[in-house]
Amino acid sequence: MPDIKMVVCCKQVADPEAPPTAFKVDSATNKVSLPRDIKPVIGQYDEFAMEAALKIKDKAGGKITVLSLGNNIARDVIKKTLAVGGDELILLEDESFEEGDSWSTAYALAMAIKKIGEYDLIFCGRESSDWDAGQVGLGIAEILAIPALTLARKVEAIDGKARVEQVIPDGYQVTEVSFPAMLTVTSELGNLRYAALKGIMAAAKKQPIVWKPADIGLEPSQVGAAGRRVKLVKLFQPTKEAKCEIVEGESPAEAGANLAIKLRETKII
């Protein structure tokens, strides 16, 4: 069987595990900012997607192209995908790609995948780790008119087909799909492996390929904010007050017993 050609879409995001108090909204620009010492990361589900592709490469062999759209993409962050075993990194990087919606994002990614040309499987996260839309993967599939399966927790490639375990409400289902197909990946697939030193060193030497809108046949008016259908009008932080009453005791066990008494007194239980 010829090598499987895979594309993995990875987005650079503000670290979703940063403490909630670190997130600040600038209402003038409608942007979220974090303290500078909190570094951006690759989206969690995008990492799971990367791991899904690597598992296939382990078994069946293949080529993994990583695709990321944005502006000012930190090379040391995104190159992790090469260090763990990605073969090629393509960045759609330009100011005009910024502040798009799911439509303009998926459209540009789909056009880039068209330009890549040959692909058997496209992997995306089930949702991004910042804007949580959960649309881009399915959008790419619709634009390319290829089948899509969501919430993959296990993927195997067999005879030109993918055999996918999809999470469903009360368990999972095994679904088969012929190539080419788009799969979105969920957390149960498992964490992205660590990069070996050799991988890190090889990645350091590789340069990403950078494409501008014109490279994928698009006008700046078709990408990013200019190409969007859904417009952000306001970004804000809901206010809430901390109101926790800490129940104490001589020992943790006593505190536990006191908690029961407290809940009874306040008629919560």
Binding site: A14, D132, T150, L151, T175, Q237, A257, L263
Partner: protein
């Protein structure tokens, strides 16, 4: 250009009954329809939609209910369902389409948006009609819940998925009149490229999370599968509640995926949510912030969960929880 009119709801049916998310959508859709002075339509898709669910859709606010039955629609499959909703959306050309942020809605809504060439806001927790433009202001939590965004979409139809338990259903009104319109939509099998070969049920015993008045949620700090069956289960039993979890226990296979609470899991709103060894990441809180009372047990006094909880105990759960359970038993017996 086609004229876009009315509000269409994609309804869901579970065990022959209208899903609670659908009554919530009907409640909020009814308000828009009244405000716009247009019809509220509901689409029900299944192998057999039966009589109860279509009737109930009217009772809870729909003017017209389109039922599409086909043995091919017995189980949800993106490729078959999209054919039905795309056809109906094109025929009715509603100005608004509402779906639930449910397993089906998450899979179906983006497909539909891209087919129709329109925009979509997912997981909205608030929507209102802008009095001037008559467009929907769509509010969606972003950054895991650390911020909220308000979107407007001027492409038609305006497509939105709505988070469970954020909208209020109307009171049941059995005198409401409406029309049930059985609709035949031919499913074309030639573009179907996916095949479900097996379904495996992971049994969850006891009360369903969504229905439980009390939920005992365990986190990564629980350390393994056993305490979910013993320490946490015993506490849940005393309170006639259910055991739930944050994402790591589900990822680690300590508990079935169906017990995972949060942005990417279940949205719950029990009377009492007891978070044990859960740090309180915003993505977890997104799933339980509607709880009436949140109680946190965590060994780290700085854990974010104490910013969300009403009551808290700082300590190792192995010591705190058994004593808590014993005392509760005593108090509830006495």
């Amino acid at each position: 250009m086609a004229e876009y009119k009315g509000v269409l709801i994609f309804g869901e049916v579970t065990n022959g009954k209208l899903a609670s998310i659908t009554t919530e959508l009907l409640g909020c859709g009814r308000n828009f329809a009244d405000e716009l002075k247009e019809d509220l339509c509901c689409l029900l898709v299944s192998d057999k939609t039966g009589e109860t669910a279509p009737r109930d859709a009217i009772v809870f606010g729909a003017d017209k209910v389109y039922t599409v039955e086909d043995s091919l629609l017995k189980e949800y499959q993106g490729e078959t369902y999209i054919q039905v909703v795309e056809r109906l959306a094109k025929e009715l050309s509603p100005r608004v389409i509402l779906m639930g942020q449910t397993p089906v809605g998450r899979d179906l809504a983006p497909r539909l948006a891209f087919r129709l060439g329109t925009g979509l806001s997912t997981d909205c927790v608030d929507i209102s009609v802008d009095s001037e433009t008559k467009l929907l202001r769509q509010t969606k939590p972003v950054y895991g819940g650390n911020a909220q965004a308000i979107f407007i979409c001027d492409a038609m139809p305006q497509l939105v998925t709505i988070r469970a338990k954020t909208m209020s259903p109307r009171e049941r009104d059995d005198s409401r009149k409406g029309e049930v319109i059985p609709t035949k939509i031919e499913i074309n099998m030639s573009p179907i490229k996916t095949k479900i070969v097996e379904k495996v049920k992971e049994e969850v015993t006891g009360i369903k999370l969504e229905d439980a008045p009390v939920i005992v949620g365990g986190g990564r700090g629980i350390g393994g599968p056993e305490p979910f069956k013993t320490t946490l289960k015993e506490l849940a039993d005393v309170l006639h509640g259910a055991v739930g979890a944050s994402r790591p226990p589900a990822d680690n296979g300590w508990i079935p995926e169906a017990m995972h609470v949060g942005l990417t899991g279940k949205i719950v709103a029990p009377e009492i949510y007891i978070a044990i060894a859960i740090s309180g990441a915003s993505q977890h809180i997104a799933g339980c912030s509607g709880s009436k009372t949140i109680i946190a047990i965590n060994k780290d006094p700085e854990a974010n969960i104490f910013r969300e909880a009403n009551f808290g105990v700082v300590g190792r759960y192995e010591e705190v929880v058994p004593a808590f359970t014993t005392k509760l038993k005593e108090l509830l017996a006495g």
